[in-house]
């Protein structure tokens, strides 16, 4: 999975500049696609794009970092208000980029959207939200419900482009919360989103970082088309995506990458990829090693 951050780095550009224009964002994603020649394009700029649109404080250092919650979060919860993405935000840049890429490229285009549990934690404040699910679970569930309603409006807009969706819900990982909390807080809104997206006949991928073994059955029966996982060893009925650890592609040598590709290809069917998005400063030769190893070992082209 390659996002705009790595592609921008390939071109020697700053992500913060790229994300100001749909044309520029589409341009870097297209550059990455042509540079590596992979088989699907993910419209992904950074993990906090929705949170930033909702007013969370973000700094670029040089990658975006979230430093504060959404100022409206308390009011939305206490006064039982619904919220909306502002008309003029970076999300429009993403949508414009997706529209351009859909017109220019012949491969499947997936649009990255933050999952409801993760977006809720960004909007409320990560530590405070993780505590809230234990200290005031009803309040936390209500907050997630509101976040999900917000996401549904956004997804409807994205689906009008006739492209596919990839939900990333890193905070819903069972490296962070317990399987019980996943079931209680993260799974129900994901079910709602999945039902909504599948009703519109779009393809849907879901990425959850870290350890997913304890919840793999729940994910498998969610109804998504692709499960992008750090650990692809559990067998699933849903098509898996992954196989090469993100740490490996960033830190290790071509030989180690090739060994992981070899191991992964012994577990078909699989979309070969990294377990999470390729870090922006990953050496391009490492990404090329992954693709080269796939063709050598897999012999698909």
């Amino acid at each position: 999975m390659i996002g705009a951050d790595h592609c921008a780095r390939l071109m020697g550009l700053n992500l913060s500049d790229v994300c100001r224009s749909g044309e520029r964002l589409a341009g870097v994603l297209e550059y990455g696609y042509n540079y590596y020649n992979y088989d699907m394009v993910l419209v992904f700029s950074d993990p906090y794009v929705e949170a930033e649109a909702m007013g969370c404080s973000i700094v670029y250092s040089p990658s975006p970092i979230i430093i504060g919650p959404c100022p409206d979060a308390g009011e939305i919860l206490d006064k039982n208000r619904e919220w909306n993405f502002p008309e003029d935000s970076a999300l429009n840049v993403m949508i414009e980029a997706a529209r351009i890429l859909k017109r220019r490229l012949k491969v499947p285009i997936f649009f990255s959207i933050k999952g409801p549990f993760s977006l809720s934690s960004f909007l409320y404040g990560i530590e405070d939200f993780l505590k809230l699910i234990k200290t005031a679970p009803e309040k936390a569930a209500r907050f997630i419900h509101k976040t999900n309603n917000l996401l549904l409006k956004y997804i409807e807009k994205v689906l009008s482009l006739n492209i596919n969706i990839f939900i990333g819900d890193p905070m819903a990982s069972t490296s962070v919360i317990s399987p019980d909390d996943f079931k209680r807080f993260a799974l129900p809104p994901l079910r709602v989103l999945t039902g909504f997206i599948k009703e519109k006949d779009a393809m849907l991928g879901l990425h959850i970082c870290g350890n997913t073994k304890p919840i793999i059955k729940l994910l498998d029966y969610l109804g998504v088309d692709i499960l992008s996982l750090e650990d692809i060893t559990p067998k699933t009925r849903t098509l898996r995506m992954g196989g090469v650890s993100t740490r490996t592609i960033f830190n290790d040598s071509s030989e180690q990458i090739k060994a992981e590709v070899e191991r992964a290809l012994k577990k078909p069917p699989l979309i070969l990829s990294t377990g999470c998005d390729v870090p922006q400063d990953t050496k391009p030769e490492n990404v090329k090693s992954l693709i080269k190893a796939f063709y050598e070992i897999g012999g698909c082209k």
Binding site: V59, S61, I65, L130, S178, T246, Q280
Partner: protein, 210 residues
């Protein structure tokens, strides 16, 4: 009262009860060091074990840490008077450019509750500040954290600076954070890599024994 009640309150992540029980214990003239060693620390140790066994997760650790520190802060003035002697010194921080500190804070509470003296420089800490703190505080362990691939490379620079300034041989360096692995630790010549908070104390104790 029984100090086990304090341990239980920490395990149950009950900040208010922990505070109430520590105050009660002080009023009952328990030695503050006993309250720490037989109440709060065993509580946090049990929390660490529950985390290792994947019975507790990040939210539980955050709440248990709040309870631990609520009690610990009440004891601090008494512990200073009692010339409380801690184990070795650990300097911990998140490197410059990175403000993700949940992981660092969890590791900090685990180390502190294991009896080490922890100096927390916080997050987004410039290299110069780390070097200065190593010179003045003379810790046995330097624990560096980074959640971002853009900032993790600084860890190597920090180690190089410590070497250049002849500070490296007196200190063990451990690193942790999502994008790191053992291979990265080896490349930058760190002494250890901690995959998660639960293993940090064991790693530090192992390095100090060496």
């Amino acid at each position: 009262m029984d100090l086990n009640e304090i341990k239980t309150a920490v395990i149950q992540m009950d900040e208010k009860s922990t505070e109430k029980l520590v105050i009660e214990a002080l009023e009952e003239k328990y030695n503050p060091l006993d309250i720490l060693n037989n109440g709060l620390i065993p509580g946090m140790k049990a929390v660490g074990e529950l985390f290792t066994r994947k019975e507790y997760f990040v939210p539980e650790i955050l709440l248990a840490s709040d309870a631990f520190y609520r009690g610990f802060n009440l004891l601090t003035p008494y512990l200073k008077k009692a010339s409380y002697r801690k184990k070795d010194k650990v300097l911990i921080c998140v490197v410059q450019g990175d403000i993700h500190d949940i992981g660092k804070n969890i590791v900090k509470v685990m180390i502190e509750s294991a009896g080490f003296q922890v100096i927390d420089l916080g997050r987004d800490v410039p290299i110069d500040e780390i070097i200065k703190a190593v010179k003045t505080a003379k810790p046995q362990i330097l624990a560096l954290s980074s959640l971002m691939t853009t900032t993790m490379l600084q860890m190597g620079e920090i180690i190089n600076r410590l070497e250049k300034e002849n500070l490296r041989k007196n200190i063990k360096i451990i690193i942790g954070g999502a994008p790191l692995n053992q291979e990265f630790a080896r490349k930058i010549k760190a002494d250890g890599y901690g995959e998660d908070a639960a293993g940090a104390v064991d790693l530090i104790e192992k390095l100090i024994r060496e």
